[in-house]
């Protein structure tokens, strides 16, 4: 029996914590008795049923979910035909459906794998990873997770798990609340992570699908270009083909899922093709119309953008085709010169790559074509200084630095990219500008177009007097712009007749020539304006589409192999590599404990319900914010005010004095700068707890400082000791007396009078009262010292509010903190101060600024800018400054009032040391209360830092500063 008891005791000991785990054996036994075995059978059954149900559900969870989604996807495939009119929703469904419809068996299979929906080629390893992750998740949930969540929710309800747990058998306790809580939190985090990954996987898979098909789009895009440049050849090809073949061509070469193409039946198609020789073109025109009209709606869809452009172009070409003679050459020339070159480079990227790799250069530029274009653009900028004003300053510099390198490397090949880059960027910029500033810029652009593009044309039309006519042409263009009419012929200032006459007289042309010239001129003018407009529109749309494409996907997207994806972790995804371990560490040591603390505020976790069996309860906040019996509102407010005062002084005194001292050290003409700095640095080089403990001893009531202050004090005794002539002890307390007299009218000091005052004699005390001595005193000590940390005596005796607020210890603490903190500021700022450019001060001096103004207008802003964020963290750190208070006073002295023994708080306690006392030193170990205090501290800190953070210049302008 006794042996049994012993075992039980041992096991209980092993359960309790070294600190604070104050569990009495009675409560453990009570727990054991009220345990699982005592629960009614139906409750056990219910819990068992619930658990089993959830486990089973979880096992089939993934499968059910996947099947459901697959069904949804199939339905969606049907439905998407009807939802095309509603682009935003329709596009989603259409794409989903398209994936299913177009996909091979792997794709279809992948719909059944959780979170994929699509496995791209060469990406099967990803699918395996996803599946493993899913499996791991399900297994985790079934084995630990469900149980963990149930435990977490029930928390304190004894006996819902571990039916075999028996402390007497040395097993776990029935109800390890703290473990339940930890496991619950971890489970919630894992679920969150899983859901996040799930959605990311779906999204990623869809992206992969699109990326994979982008290459096909690109191919078709190229084909379209070919068609555009060789229309006759293409038509020949078409006429030789059967309708079905044409349809196949449409489908394979020009991408799938063109609804219009599919809706036109073969018969209809053939009929149209037979009846009219231009049928094919009309067919294209129909499609193009559809796309062109729907352009704005569709252009956001990444799949649609190249297509709409192609067909828009086709439309453009076809509409103009009958009329354009020489104009068409112009258009093509422009297109060849600009767009074709663009596509040339666009397509040549891959050809360049090996060469570039060989040269070990510019890989990253090529990996990011936008950058290449930018570089090219910059190069142009550098060489031509053309339109450079349009770029913001920072961009100019940045681009130039890259561009200068590129120029050297790509001299031979990059002239193409160069032009292209310029073109794309200007187009994009123009769009941005016009959308913002509107007409003026747009008009300028028209002019520029006409000037650039139509010069050759006018050269053709008008062989003489080129400049004059060009100028006139520009004038017409201006007129056109002002009037905004489709034709400027009517607005020719001379009129037709005047024009012809003018040319006949001025240029010595005959009438027919002049007439022809007029016709040409008028025609060319109209055409030029229209073309310019059309071209401009197209170009902008095209640029927008390209931009959009590039923004979403790289220009040469391809599903990456496993190795490449792995290699991404050293480059594009380097942040993941770098941040993985720190994040894990932070989650383990900060986030989980943090969540735990927050949850803890809503439990009754204290000495009576320690570790094993605390339960949900709203005690902490209720107690903290109540002013009634047992409420701690007043103590809290008192400590809160002191904490704020402390943090303010501790931060800003250190900061300002630190800057002042480092200014002194850095002053011109002061020698041994290193020595001075080292002197200060010594005090922070020594570990803080040593200096603080030394300070505590130094400043204690009997410490060296008090002894030194009282040194040299003397005392004499006068009087004979009778009632009429009592002893009077007077003394000269040295500095301490002077100090005391200054602060306290009673003039107390440490005075040791080596006098013999006999028993039975009378002594006049300080208050003037005459007392009879009950015993002989040999050494009379007038007990006085400055209670630097203890708050006793000198200042306090005659001033109770002074004592109740523990003013002296508070001042001492702040001063000691200055002692600790100023060297840090010196270290931080002296470098910054040296870095301030001297010419700033010189110019200020020339402007007549005195030292004070210089300090506030130059030094402080500069220092603040650099150290601002650290000031913020210092402030927060001071709110949570445990060390200084704990080592110096331990929170003391006890002052009474609201800071009484019930609240566990003392005079100099900060909220954080109060929290420590409640948790560790007090007998009750009220963790829940400490947690609620922690939450409040957190809110306060968050409030301050959000205000300061939002106003901090160096935070706002982070990128600029870099």
């Amino acid at each position: 029996m006794s042996n049994n008891n012993k075992n039980q005791e041992e096991s209980v000991e092993s359960l309790t914590q070294p600190e604070g785990g104050a569990i009495d054996f009675g409560s453990i036994n009570a727990l054991a008795n009220s345990g699982w075995t005592k629960e009614p059978w139906w409750k056990k059954l219910l819990v068992w049923l619930a658990e089993t149900l959830i486990r089973i559900l979880l096992f089939v969870f993934g499968i059910i979910f996947d099947v459901c989604r697959a069904i949804v996807n199939i339905i969606v495939t049907i439905v998407h035909f009807f939802t095309r009119g509603c682009p935003a929703i329709g596009r989603f469904f259409r794409d989903k459906g398209r994936i299913w419809r177009e996909g091979d068996k792997w794709v279809k299979l992948s719909f059944f794998v959780n979170g994929i929906g699509f496995i791209p080629t060469k990406q099967y390893f990803n699918a395996v990873l996803y599946m493993l992750a899913e499996l791991a998740f399900i297994v985790y949930m079934a084995v630990v997770g469900v149980k963990g969540i149930i435990d977490f929710i029930l928390l304190g309800n004894v006996g819902h798990g571990y039916p075999d747990a028996n402390p007497q058998a040395g097993g776990m306790a029935q109800n390890m609340s703290i473990q339940f809580m930890i496991i619950g939190i971890v489970t919630f985090m894992i679920i969150g992570l899983y859901v996040f990954c799930y959605f990311k996987a779906v999204r990623g898979a869809y992206d992969m699908y699109l990326i994979e098909h982008m290459n096909e789009y690109k191919q078709s895009f190229k084909d379209a270009e070919y068609v555009l440049e060789n229309p006759d050849h293409f038509e020949e090809d078409l006429s030789k083909m059967s309708c079905k073949k044409i349809y196949e061509l449409m489908r394979t070469k020009y991408g799938y899922g063109i609804p219009s193409a599919r809706q036109i039946s073969y018969v209809e198609w053939k009929r149209v093709a037979d009846r009219e020789p231009n049928g094919v073109q009309r067919f294209f025109k129909g499609i193009a119309d559809w796309f062109y009209r729907g352009y704005d709606k569709v252009r956001n869809g990444i799949a649609a953008s190249p297509w709409s452009t192609v067909f828009a172009k086709w439309l453009f070409w076809e509409q103009k085709q009958p009329e354009i003679t020489s104009g068409r050459n112009y258009v093509l020339a422009v297109q060849k010169g600009k767009e074709a070159r663009f596509h040339h480079t666009y397509d040549k990227f891959n050809d360049y790559l090996p060469w570039v790799r060989e040269q070990k250069v510019v890989l990253n530029v090529l990996a990011d074509p936008r950058k290449l274009l930018d570089c090219a653009y910059c190069r142009d900028e550098v060489s031509q200084r053309n339109g450079i004003e349009a770029l913001p300053d920072g961009a100019k510099l940045k681009y130039r630095s890259v561009a200068t390198r590129v120029v050297g490397l790509f001299e031979c090949e990059l002239h193409v990219a160069n032009r292209v880059g310029k073109w794309v960027v200007t187009a994009v910029q123009n769009e941005a500008v016009t959308s913002r500033k509107g007409a003026p810029v747009k008009a300028e652009q028209y002019l520029a177009n006409i000037r650039d593009g139509l010069r050759d044309k006018y050269n053709q039309f008008v062989s003489v007097n080129h400049d004059q006519r060009l100028a006139r042409c520009e004038k017409f263009a201006n007129l056109y712009l002002e009037e905004n009419r489709p034709s400027v012929v009517d607005t020719l200032p001379l009129g037709k007749k005047g024009f012809i006459e003018h040319f006949m007289s001025e240029e010595k042309l005959d009438e027919s020539q002049a007439k022809q010239l007029y016709e040409d001129f008028a025609y060319g003018n109209t055409l030029g304006a229209e073309e310019a407009e059309a071209f401009y529109t197209l170009r902008n749309q095209r640029a927008a589409a390209v931009l959009e494409t590039e923004k979403t996907y790289p220009l040469h997207p391809a599903p990456l192999s496993a190795k490449k994806q792995l290699m991404q972790f050293t480059d594009e995804k380097f942040h993941i590599t770098v941040l993985a371990l720190p994040t894990l560490g932070a989650v383990l040591t900060c986030i989980i404990p943090l969540l735990f603390s927050i949850f803890l505020a809503f439990t009754n976790f204290d000495g009576d319900h320690a570790y094993n069996n605390f339960d949900w309860a709203n005690l902490g906040f209720a107690k903290l914010f109540s002013t009634g019996t047992g409420g701690l509102m007043k103590s809290f407010l008192s400590l809160f005010v002191w904490t704020m005062v402390w943090a303010f002084f501790a931060t800003f005194l250190n900061y300002i004095f630190g800057i002042v001292v480092s200014l002194l050290i850095n002053k011109k003409g002061i020698k041994f700068k290193g020595l001075w700095r080292t002197m200060f640095v010594i005090s922070i080089a020594v570990p803080q707890f040593i200096t603080l403990l030394a300070m505590k001893i130094l400043l204690s009531d009997t410490g060296a400082i008090n002894a030194w202050l009282a040194s040299g004090s003397t005392a004499t005794m006068t009087g004979t000791g009778t009632l009429e002539d009592p002893y009077v002890i007077s003394g000269n307390g040295g500095f301490l007396e002077w100090l005391s007299g200054w602060c306290d009218s009673s003039g107390r000091s440490i005075v040791t009078a080596t006098v013999r005052a006999l028993q039975g004699k009378y002594l006049r005390t300080d208050s003037g009262e005459v007392i009879q001595l009950t015993q002989t005193i040999n050494v009379y000590t007038k007990d006085a010292y400055i209670g630097f940390l203890s708050n006793l005596n000198t200042f306090s005796t005659n001033n109770s509010t002074f004592a109740a607020m523990a003013i002296i210890p508070k001042i001492t603490i702040i001063l000691v903190n200055c002692w600790v903190g100023i060297p840090y500021t010196i270290l931080q700022t002296s470098g910054i101060l040296m870095n301030i450019p001297e010419d700033l001060y010189e110019s200020a001096r020339i402007d007549g600024a005195n030292a004070w103004t210089q300090f506030w207008k130059i030094t402080m802003p500069y220092v603040l800018f650099v150290t601002g964020p650290s000031l913020l963290t210092t402030f927060i750190g001071n709110i949570n400054n445990f060390n200084v208070i704990y080592f110096l006073t331990g929170g003391g002295p006890t002052t009474g009032g609201v800071l009484n023994s019930a609240s566990k708080a003392e005079g100099t306690d900060l909220l954080i040391t109060w929290l420590y006392k409640i948790t560790v030193t007090s007998e009750k170990h009220q963790y829940y209360l400490a947690s609620s205090i922690g939450c409040v501290i957190f809110l306060v800190c968050a409030f301050f830092s959000l205000i300061m953070y939002s106003r901090m210049g160096s935070v706002k302008n982070e990128e600029e500063f870099q």
Binding site: I182, V402, L594, T691, L827, I876, F887
Partner: protein, 341 residues
């Protein structure tokens, strides 16, 4: 006539100028003297407590007898003898001899002890040294990695993460210690130095601010140039940024190495007991030295003041020397940069 006037005027103005210079010089000298006086006074205030501790470590008095003197009444080496041999001196030669007369087994194990029952046991100093070395390595890695990511790499979660870290830093971590203790108990790490190493270096990444400030000052053009030359971001970090960041690496190493020496609250909570030779539990220097002054055990309270000072000197001197030697790097670490931004 005019020439004479002019010469006179010139002479006058020269004299005035010289006078002006002279007065300026006087002002400067006076100001400098004042500044020197201020600096000397301040240095005395700042250094005196430390010198006091060093002097106290040589005290020949027992217990706290010498606490109220700036210079000890008698000198001896008994405190160092005590610290190195784990023998607490209970009596010294009359008149301040250099060594002990009588001694007993010390309550504290500072370096190591070779107890007959326990065998070789690491004292608090060695334990802290181990912890400090590991912590320095891990937390430097974490801090630099985080700082580099936030300073140089641009990714979607960057701003949110920075904000979350800012907010996390505001939560008083002490309550979380309870759960950390339990987590370590669950995985059996309590009572080992690894629990402390994990705690010290786990959250180190969140103190990335100073390092980030440093990385920010390194010109981005260097990175871009490297990218043009085909370097990956890893290569940029490893071959360009790190070599340029030696000051901040040293600074981070130094601060994280010094952390465990000065850290009291976590180590006392996680590792528990402060006296460390009888029961063989681990303890850190801070906990032990704190206990020497504020011992809860009445029988040893006040007895170990001299040992405290000696221990403080033994820790403080190397750490301070290290710190002072690296002072330049510290300054550079906070403010410097390869290319001025």
């Amino acid at each position: 006539m005019a020439n004479i006037d002019r010469a006179a005027i010139i002479a006058q103005s020269k004299a005035e100028q010289q006078k002006h210079y002279a007065s300026q010089r006087t002002t400067r000298i006076v100001t400098n003297v004042i500044v020197y006086v201020i600096l000397v006074i301040m240095c005395i205030i700042w250094v005196a407590p430390i010198i006091w501790v060093i002097l106290q470590s040589f005290t020949g008095q027992l217990g706290t007898a010498d606490q109220k003197n700036f210079v000890p009444a008698t000198f001896s080496l008994k405190n160092y003898y005590s610290i190195f041999t784990n023998r607490h001196v209970t009596a010294v030669e009359q008149g301040g001899g250099w060594l002990s007369v009588n001694e007993e087994v010390s309550a504290y194990n500072f370096f190591w002890s070779t107890d007959s029952a326990k065998g070789f046991v690491f004292g608090s100093f060695m334990v802290t040294l181990l912890i400090a070395v590991f912590t320095a390595i891990f937390s430097t890695l974490f801090t630099l990695a985080t700082a580099y990511a936030f300073s140089r790499l641009r990714f979607k979660a960057r701003q949110p993460m920075m904000r979350v870290i800012l907010i996390l830093g505001m939560f008083p971590g002490f309550v979380g210690m309870v759960v950390l203790y339990n987590i370590f108990r669950m995985i059996g790490l309590t009572g080992t130095i690894w629990s402390l190493i994990i705690i010290y270096s786990g959250g180190a990444g969140m103190g990335y601010y100073i390092s980030k400030g440093f990385f920010d000052t390194i010109s981005k053009q260097i990175d871009e140039a490297a990218m043009v030359d085909g370097a990956t971001r890893f290569q940029i970090f490893y071959k360009i940024t790190l070599p340029l960041s030696k000051p901040i690496v040293v600074y981070t190493l130094l601060t994280s190495f010094m952390g465990p020496w000065a850290e009291y609250i976590t180590s006392s909570y996680i590792l528990g007991g402060a006296q460390n030779n009888k029961n063989g539990t681990l303890t850190t220097v801070a906990t032990q030295l704190y206990d020497m002054i504020n011992a809860t055990d009445g029988s040893i309270r006040g007895k170990y003041w001299g040992e405290f000072c000696a221990g403080a000197v033994l820790i403080g001197v190397p750490v301070s020397l290290l710190f002072i030697a690296m002072q330049k790097n510290y300054v550079g670490g906070v403010t410097g940069g390869a290319v001025k931004g």
